[in-house]
Subunit: 344 residues, 2 copies
């Protein structure tokens, strides 16, 4: 006989069976500092930061946004977890931090095991690649809060940086070169607008293919995994290539994200045409009849991370990027003036 | 003219204006270890844990669940943030940890400033009371994911404990006394079932009053803030009163939460009638025709935290609870046997 609780929409047994694969899935998402076991009330991580004089924890919390809806429409759930981990890693990497551990939250109406497994597989894969331990999580069954098949996916990353190494942009100065690192696609921003244009206005389906966009379906293009720039930034640090400021280009584009790391009295000028805006953005702009200004406010336009660096670092960074097979472009300059990003 | 993005349901300007009160609201939710400023990509917290030999970070992530729906129905949003902070503090306090910092996530269809302010006010108040710094947060506008007025509220807490002081229940042994600490109400579990019984079956409204439940409305009773037991546990530590294991009674009740901290070969017996089950639970049970077993599986039944302690600690703990005006009852014993909780 079904319990009263399951009739109210919450199935405790299902919650257990859904989690049965967790230990196997999480094996590669660990680190030696992790103590304790899965299922404890809290995740345990030893805070012995060898070689650091004044360790500072750097943390960030984020979600995947409406990119999740594309995953639901494609029935493909193993990429969004990677998006989340990589996005969070980037958010603390721009402050100079090394990521350590992560916790995730899945909110959903009705738990489905294949979906849950897919999400966790993605989380575990990206954790493994980024050397991040997945130390905790919560799966909430919230009947009536989410539409059928929908879920929200949220996570928190904690990393560490030695205080003197914190990158807060205060070293950015007029004359610095602005280097843009290529994104893989929309990353995790602008999906409400992209979906409106592509699916509502242009009447495409997630599985549609469009000549301008090449051989991949629109859905797969939209699901391209958010790039994790942490290994590249770490490489620059290990080679002692000086970087003055780094900005993660997320919601709000250059306009909102670059000023977050600019000191008073300097802004940046971004030069149009200094990189090729990828076809997916051009297609959305054309089909949605969206102004260039708005495109740059909503989307990353092909640049997922921006580095403000002294002239002498610029060429070395471009060379390292080439070695790492990462697109990198000199896209502008730091100039005296208001603390904002301007397209020129 | 409205932008294409705002027509797709995401309003960047609103996001800014909604956050305009943040600095004022967060003033009391800080600690001296916090560096940096609001609006940075990551929250910064100095990890110098003086006096600790082997500091271990303890973290937990959780949501408020469908208690949020009651807040929406009551139009009262300043309690759910307190629920979240207190719940998270408890989850790491049971492992012996002191809470340090917190990050929050609000997912919503359309941002509304009074709602956002209410939520953050609750978060800040509970942070202030618990000496927790709110170092980061994310507010996601996800049109189409949440019903009108609905939102999800999720948070992550990070705390610290010296490795030798970690409470993992391994010290629990047969013969220990089980002490239950009073909850304030449902805390944050069982709301899907409670709402179904009270609002769907018994046809009550959130503002209804019921003689059996006293003078407060059903909605206000359901919104009672999740109690934070951390100060009490800290007090016991400071008085060197030995505690072998602690369990936070959340989703799954005694049955699921107590075994999380029991070593192999011991279980607990909970004695019916050793405390008074509060009227709200009795009312839900009667109106919903729910079995006692299921009530104990879904709800905390008046006990929000369970302590397994040596006999010599029991009376001292009851005395400390009395001083702290916290209900505390000897509710059972640790016995040899399967690692489970049994009602006797």
């Amino acid at each position: 006989m079904p319990s009263a609780y399951s009739k109210s929409g919450v199935n405790l047994k299902l919650a257990h069976s859904v989690k049965s694969n967790l230990p196997a899935l999480l094996r590669k998402a660990s680190r030696p500092e992790v103590l304790g076991k899965i299922g404890a009330f809290g995740g345990l991580f030893r805070a012995t930061f060898k070689g650091m004089k004044d360790p500072v924890l750097v943390s960030s919390m984020d979600g995947v946004g409406t990119k999740l809806r594309v995953a639901v429409e494609m029935g493909r759930h193993d990429t969004v977890g990677q998006d989340l981990i990589n996005h969070c890693c980037n958010d603390i990497a721009v402050m100079g931090a090394e990521p350590l551990f992560f916790l995730d939250y899945i909110g959903t109406g009705k738990l489905e095991k294949p979906v849950f497994d897919g999400i966790v597989r993605g989380l575990a894969q990206a954790c493994g690649e980024a050397n991040v331990a997945l130390v905790g999580g919560e799966t909430a069954q919230m009947p009536g809060f989410y539409g059928p098949g929908d879920y929200d996916l949220v996570g928190t990353i904690v990393g560490v940086v030695d205080r003197k190494q914190i990158l807060d942009g205060s070293r950015v100065r007029a004359g610095d070169v602005v280097i843009g690192l290529a994104s893989t696609g929309l990353h995790t921003n602008g999906y409400s607008l992209a979906r409106k244009v592509l699916f509502d206005q242009a009447k495409l389906k997630a599985r549609s293919k469009v000549p301008e966009l090449g051989r991949e379906s629109v859905g797969n293009l939209l699901l391209k995994v958010h790039r994790n720039y942490t290994p590249f930034l770490k490489k620059l640090r290990s080679k002692k290539i000086e970087v003055h400021g780094v900005s993660h280009i997320t919601g709000g584009g250059f306009e909102e994200n670059v000023p977050r790391v600019l000191p008073r009295g300097v802004g940046i000028q971004i030069k149009r045409g200094s990189w090729k805006v990828p076809p997916i953005f051009q297609f959305i702009q054309k089909r949605g009849k969206i102004s260039e200004a708005e495109m740059f406010r909503v989307f990353n336009m092909g640049i997922g991370m921006v580095l403000m660096v002294p002239r002498r670092s610029a060429d070395r960074i471009l060379k390292e990027a080439k070695k790492a097979k990462l697109g990198a472009f000199e896209i502008g300059r730091v100039v005296r003036g208001e603390s904002k990003a301007t397209l020129i």
